[in-house]
Symmetry: C2
Subunit: 217 residues, 2 copies
DNA sequence: AGGGAACACGAGTCATTGCTCGTATTATTG
DNA sequence: CAATAATACGAGCAATGACTCGTGTTCCCT
């Protein structure tokens, strides 16, 4: 049902690229403003100031359009995470986690409504392959940061820890931004998420292996 | 856009209730199988073995049908959480958290695909009011459990802690069930989520005073 | 200049679908 | 057993929307 083919034609001239960008921007505005059901290709074309025909010259179908949008948005968010993880090489574990949470928060604030609709209609795991490479980068980079602090963290399985940390940050930030609880400030939420992750990595009740390691020392 | 009116007519006879149930079941199957776009009212009626006319006798429009489904599913999940929180009155903090995570996991496993679609199309905060009361119950009940252990937990603001715990359990379980990472077992994930929440409530910094308190006893 | 390629156009096609309404059937009631 | 209410039916209407295609326009290259 969700066919995501390659674009029928690649824009070779500048004006074509302008058209493509206008279409993408219009789609983003409608999607974030009125949601997916309200996003007809005719409306997108109209708002973009081009004709439907032009739209279909670059996007084989509606899904491909949304997919392209998803990819573009994903790249932006990813960029932030990647930078945060690269810049905290050698930093303390808390600094890494803090940077990660802040980057995720920043990324979600680019266009919360768009993000919300995009994740709802096309969940991240259905994301186009192009994002896959990027995801692997963040994945690998976070793993490297965790490995640097292996001695200080409780979970033995770094891959599992990686998954938990990534998923926690992603989903908690998402929840905080998309459905912000009125009772708390953003700063409170940010701190709480950092504490949450740190508490997982460095808990009070140390796991058996850690205790054994310390006892034998 | 999303009009959720009261049912046009309430089923008064048994056969009418059968019809309503058949419609609901058919809708759930299509929704969980092929997703929201594939769920046309005609198709639902056909699969339910009734006519479209009958469908519209009990549901004023398509959205009301999905809303009813959402409510039914929400009640099931909620029931589990409520029981878990009631049964762990007086139990240890870890027992409370464990029960909570297990209940959430169990609830999500009823029909993961349906849950996925339902949350995507009608996010929990758009849920019908009927669920609101229930939500408050879980909210209040979890707060009571946290209050019982106030001395052992680090976060000062119990409402904030309540939010973080609820959101963490909900989103992490959701992620684990909907997009299960192949590399880890369910048991691993369950344990990790429990550790995550426990680490937040009882972080390393709290260890010293706790141990001192215990040592002095 | 001029010819071909890239780009843009938008009215129209075709399939889908939410929903109505007049009618037929079954249950309940007095 | 009427008489009335409740339930069930399903062909068809009206609207929508994804997508096509024949045509006109602009750009690039030699």
């Amino acid at each position: 049902m969700r066919r995501i083919e390659k674009p029928r034609k690649l824009p070779r001239q500048q004006r074509a690229q302008m058209t493509v960008d206008a279409i993408l921007d219009a789609a983003a505005r409608i999607l974030s403003g009125d949601g997916y059901p309200a996003m007809s290709t005719n409306r997108v074309a109209e708002l973009a100031g081009v004709s439907v025909g032009s739209l279909y010259q670059y996007f084989p179908n509606k899904d491909a359009l949304v997919a392209a949008l998803h990819e573009r948005h994903g790249r932006q968010i990813h960029e932030l995470l990647d930078v945060a993880l690269r810049e905290t090489e050698g930093s303390s574990l808390r600094a890494v986690v803090t940077a990660l949470v802040r980057a995720a928060l920043q990324g979600h604030l680019i266009d919360p409504q768009l993000h919300r609709v995009l994740e709802a209609e096309f969940p991240f795991f259905d994301a186009p392959v192009a994002e896959g490479n990027d995801h692997l980068d963040v994945h690998a980079r976070l793993r490297a940061r965790l490995a640097e602090h292996r001695a200080e963290i409780a979970p033995r399985d770094l891959d599992l820890a990686n998954y938990i940390v990534r998923t926690t940050v992603q989903t908690m930030v998402h929840a905080a931004v998309i459905d912000p609880p009125a009772a708390f400030t953003t700063a409170q939420l940010e701190t709480s998420i950092i504490d949450l992750v740190m508490g997982y990595l460095q808990p009070a009740t140390l796991r058996t292996p850690m205790r054994a390691r310390r006892a034998s020392a």
